[in-house]
């Protein structure tokens, strides 16, 4: 069942302009849905319009089948978790969490029980009487989460909830969010610029750029079959190299790079809208991890210009005849040094085609 529908949702700010540009989206019941994109892509504005904090310039927002476009936030039955927590500084932890229940006039005994449960769920049992400014950032964020969950919203909205936490705490909180997911947990819309968060937690992800949706799909689909050049570039470490289609058959397609090198790949691995006619320009996505060091001459050859050691693997930059390539090499493959000549072979089954770079 569709819980949230956005129809041609648009927001124009006087200075920033068209921040959200005619977005259509359907979010299903119980889903963990993520809006992913670089900062300024409009993802937070979409969330704030869903919550009712911003009024859309155009378009409609439906909860189930109810049009809530002009409803104030307090009539929408949502839970909202803010990037900066937005706890009430003059209230204790328990008073913060109980706020929404008081508003709804939930009987005192039941309210207390639900607050205790909610604090327990976010691993803050016993901290109820504490002042919120005594808590660490991670604890404050969990109070905010408990406060939003305790009112049993039909839609939980999370606006970059982890971005103010340090790396370790972010992972712990991510694990906790996953643990909280259960059959009766609310439909969740999650906004982030961090692809690891998006990939690690979501059922589906929408990738946005400049107010427009580029792709809506599962994390796997987005990673393996990016729908646009932007998605290919934004997700993971991807080399998108311009090339020309040289030969097409039913099972294979051959593309030729600028320097004449050709690779053959599966024509199914392409974004919609990529034309497979000989002579057509395309962008070939070669993921950093889909290249291997070749013993002799590989598909590409070049000189290592930079090496970054990152534990299990090394990330290198290799200057080749088709441009600078990012390559991930398992550390077990041995040492690499700057200036070294290497050959790179491409795993052809992992190649993917997107639209060519816009000609300028």
């Amino acid at each position: 069942m569709t819980v949230l529908t956005l129809e041609k949702l648009t927001k124009v700010f006087p200075r920033a302009g068209r921040v959200v540009d005619s977005i259509d989206l359907r979010i299903e019941s119980g889903e963990f849905f993520t809006l992913l994109g670089p900062s300024g892509c409009g993802k937070s504005t979409i969330l704030r319009m869903v919550a009712g904090f911003e009024e859309p310039t155009d378009g409609r927002i439906l909860f189930d089948r109810r049009d809530v476009t002009t409803e104030p936030p307090n009539r929408r039955s949502i839970g909202f978790v803010f990037q900066n927590y937005a706890l009430f500084p003059h209230l204790s932890v328990a008073e913060n969490v109980v706020f929404g229940l008081r508003v709804k006039k939930v009987p005192r005994a039941e309210a207390e029980k639900r607050v205790a449960e909610a604090l327990n769920d976010v691993q803050l049992a016993g901290l109820g009487p504490e002042r919120v400014d005594r808590l660490s950032g991670g604890q404050q964020q969990r109070v905010a989460l408990a406060r939003a969950l305790v009112i049993r919203p039909s839609l939980l909205l999370l606006d970059e909830p982890l971005s103010n936490l340090d790396a370790k705490l972010r992972e712990d909180t991510r694990a906790m969010l996953r643990a909280l997911r259960s059959s009766n947990s609310p439909t969740t819309v999650y906004v982030t610029h961090d692809q690891a968060e998006a990939m690690g937690m979501s059922d589906r992800v929408a990738v946005l750029n400049q107010g427009k949706i580029h792709q809506v799909a599962t994390p796997e689909e987005i990673y393996e079959h990016p729908a646009t050049r932007f998605v290919a570039d934004f997700i993971g470490r991807n080399n998108v190299i311009d090339a020309t289609v040289s030969a097409v058959s039913e099972k294979t397609v051959t593309v030729r790079f600028r320097d004449g090198i050709e690779v053959t790949m599966d024509p199914a691995n392409r974004a919609r809208g990529v034309l497979l006619t000989p002579g057509a320009r395309v962008g070939v996505c070669v993921r950093a991890e889909s290249m291997r060091l070749a013993a002799g001459n590989g598909t590409f050859s070049g000189i290592v210009t930079d090496v970054e050691y990152a534990g299990p693997l090394r990330t290198c930059r290799v200057q080749t005849s088709v441009g600078d390539l990012q390559v991930e090499v398992p550390s077990s493959a041995g040492r690499l040094v700057k200036g070294q000549s290497v050959g790179l072979s491409v795993i052809e089954s992992a190649l993917h085609l997107v639209e060519p770079a816009a000609t300028t």
Partner: protein, 556 residues
């Protein structure tokens, strides 16, 4: 808030701002061009040949510039000494240096006159010591005005510069030294430029206050200032001319207000590094130590003297000060009578009640305006902002003049009543003058309050009004309370506007009662009321600190 309620609130606020603040000022402008020809009185104002009337503008400007220089030198000097060096009694000095703030406006100036003026204590002591004419040591006229301005206005510089020094951090100076700069170069290139914004805002504040100053020129008999020309022209029934002076004074004040707002918005250097208090240089050299101690001792005595004078006078028998350095007879009767004689109690009650009424109105208007300007977007915001801050920039004389000329006839804003001469005109004037104080203080609190906190309340299902009552108001409370207390204290001391309002003797508030008795030579009775003002100011200062320490606890 829905759109209809929003429009309603905006319209109501706009009506109040127009009716009591902007409208009366516009009225004064209209009256200023009712002379023989529209510009006749403006020409007279700028013509030196018309005597003091033509000199008033220049006189006010000169006094203001001189006040800025003298207050600036003292304020900056004290701030640097007290912030940068550590020496015995530094904390005591830090408190004492703010004593002038507790000086009630009229009684404070009166104390200066009795201390340094003709027949005052200091000239008499010095004269007797050297065996010469005491009056040759008396401070009169321009010098007296400057003395009062300097000692009451240096806190503008002291407070802004101290705050700037407190916020600047050591690493900047250390960076300068590490780059090979000498002490002089560091001060010249790093520290002074950092202090410039503070010094400029101190200077703008001092300039505005000096332009608005009325009491010091009055008590030291300087008549070539604009505030006094408004009064004397008004007394001579020269309506158009007094309006011209008011308009010119308003123009100067408002341009300085705009300058100040621009300046505040543009330039505040904030330290970017976190944590770590400022280190103070400990004074170890015994000679320097002695010198600093001596300086602080002398300046402390100097600062305490006016307050001490008020207390001494309060215990003196009326009429017992004739030709000696101090009154000859003392009694506690003046103080006791405050609470036993209804004639002595009445002004206290009047002041408290009038200020309280004004504060209630000021809180309503100030908080609404702060919220509307801080949380809503609508056209004409800038005009709204200027309108609410206008009475803060306008001299009290101009505010009172505008109100008198507006409400000496029945008006819709006074529900068809003539307000001049009634009780109501005084609280109205206080309300107009002190609303900006509540507004500023509330707006400052609101700008610290993250809007997402209110959004969080809305997302949890609370209506706008519930969120406002349970979340916004409690969080703004310290700012509102501080502004309200400040407005109250200003009401208790108010003299400049009140004197113009010609209230019925039955309704006279403290400052008018003090003025009357002072001129009858009843220094004891007058000073006893002055003591009440000082005590109320101190009470409010303590209360404000309580409220604000509560406020800092609540900040996340």
């Amino acid at each position: 808030m829905n759109r209809l309620a929003k429009i309603g609130v905006l319209a109501a606020l706009a009506l109040i701002l127009w009716g009591y603040i902007v409208g009366p000022l516009v009225g004064t402008f209209q009256r200023s061009i009712t002379g023989a020809t529209p510009l006749a009185d403006y020409i007279r104002f700028f013509d030196f040949r018309s005597g003091v009337q033509g000199e008033a503008m220049l006189g006010s400007l000169m006094i203001s510039v001189l006040s800025v220089i003298t207050s600036g030198v003292i304020g900056v000097f004290l701030a640097v000494i007290l912030q940068r060096w550590d020496f015995p009694l530094r904390r005591v000095c830090q408190v004492l240096v703010l004593v002038p703030i507790a000086l009630p406006p009229l009684m404070g100036v009166a104390a200066f006159v009795k201390l340094y003026g003709l027949g005052g204590t200091v000239p008499q002591l010095v004269g007797n010591f050297f065996g010469t004419d005491p009056n040759s040591y008396a401070i009169e006229g321009l010098a007296g005005v400057l003395l009062v301005h300097t000692l009451t206005m240096y806190p503008y510089f002291y407070l802004t510069v101290s705050a700037a020094l407190e916020q600047s951090d050591d690493s900047l100076e250390e960076a300068a030294y590490s780059l090979g700069a000498t002490t002089f170069q560091t001060w010249n290139r790093v520290i002074l430029p950092m202090l410039t914004p503070a010094i400029v805002s101190g200077a703008l504040l001092t300039f505005m206050s000096s332009m608005a100053s009325y009491t010091a020129p009055l008590l030291f008999n300087v008549d070539y200032v604009m505030t006094r020309q408004i009064m004397s022209a008004d007394a001579n029934a020269e309506l158009a001319y007094s309006s011209v002076v008011s308009v010119m004074l308003a123009v100067v004040s408002v341009s300085f207000l705009i300058l100040l707002r621009r300046w505040e918005g543009r330039s505040a250097y904030r330290s970017q590094s976190k944590g770590g208090g400022r280190r103070r240089q400990r004074v170890t050299n015994p000679a320097t130590k002695a010198l600093i101690l001596a300086i602080s001792l002398v300046s402390t005595i100097f600062l305490i003297l006016p307050i001490a004078m008020i207390f001494v006078l309060a215990f003196s028998v009326d009429g017992s000060w004739r030709s000696a350095a101090l009154p000859s007879e003392y009694t506690t009767r003046n103080i006791i009578k405050l609470f036993t004689d209804s004639a002595n109690w009445a002004p206290i009650q009047n002041s408290i009640v009038m200020s309280a009424i004004a504060v209630c109105g000021a809180v309503l208007l100030g908080v609404s305006c702060a919220y509307v300007l801080g949380r809503m977007s609508f056209r004409g915001k800038t005009a709204f902002d200027i309108a609410i801050m206008l009475p803060w920039a306008l001299p009290g004389t101009v505010v009172a003049f505008n109100l008198i000329k507006t409400f000496n006839v029945p008006s819709a804003f006074s529900f068809g009543q003539v307000l001049v001469g009634t009780y109501a005109i005084v609280p109205l004037a206080y309300f107009v003058r002190f609303s900006p104080l509540v507004f500023r203080s509330t707006a400052a609190s609101l700008s610290q309050l993250d809007p997402t906190i209110e959004e969080a309340a809305r997302s949890l299902g609370s209506s706008w009004s519930y969120a406002f009552r349970k979340i916004t108001l409690p969080l703004l409370y310290p700012g509102i309370a501080a502004g309200a207390l400040l407005a109250f204290v200003n009401g208790i001391g108010e003299f400049v506007a009140t004197i113009l309002l010609h209230v019925h003797p039955k309704y006279r508030p403290l400052s008018i009662a003090i003025f009357d008795e002072f001129y009858r030579g009843n220094f004891g009775t007058a000073a006893a009321w002055g003591v009440v003002q000082v005590v109320l100011v101190l009470l409010v200062v303590i209360l404000t600190q309580r409220v604000q320490s509560q406020g800092t606890i609540m900040k996340l």
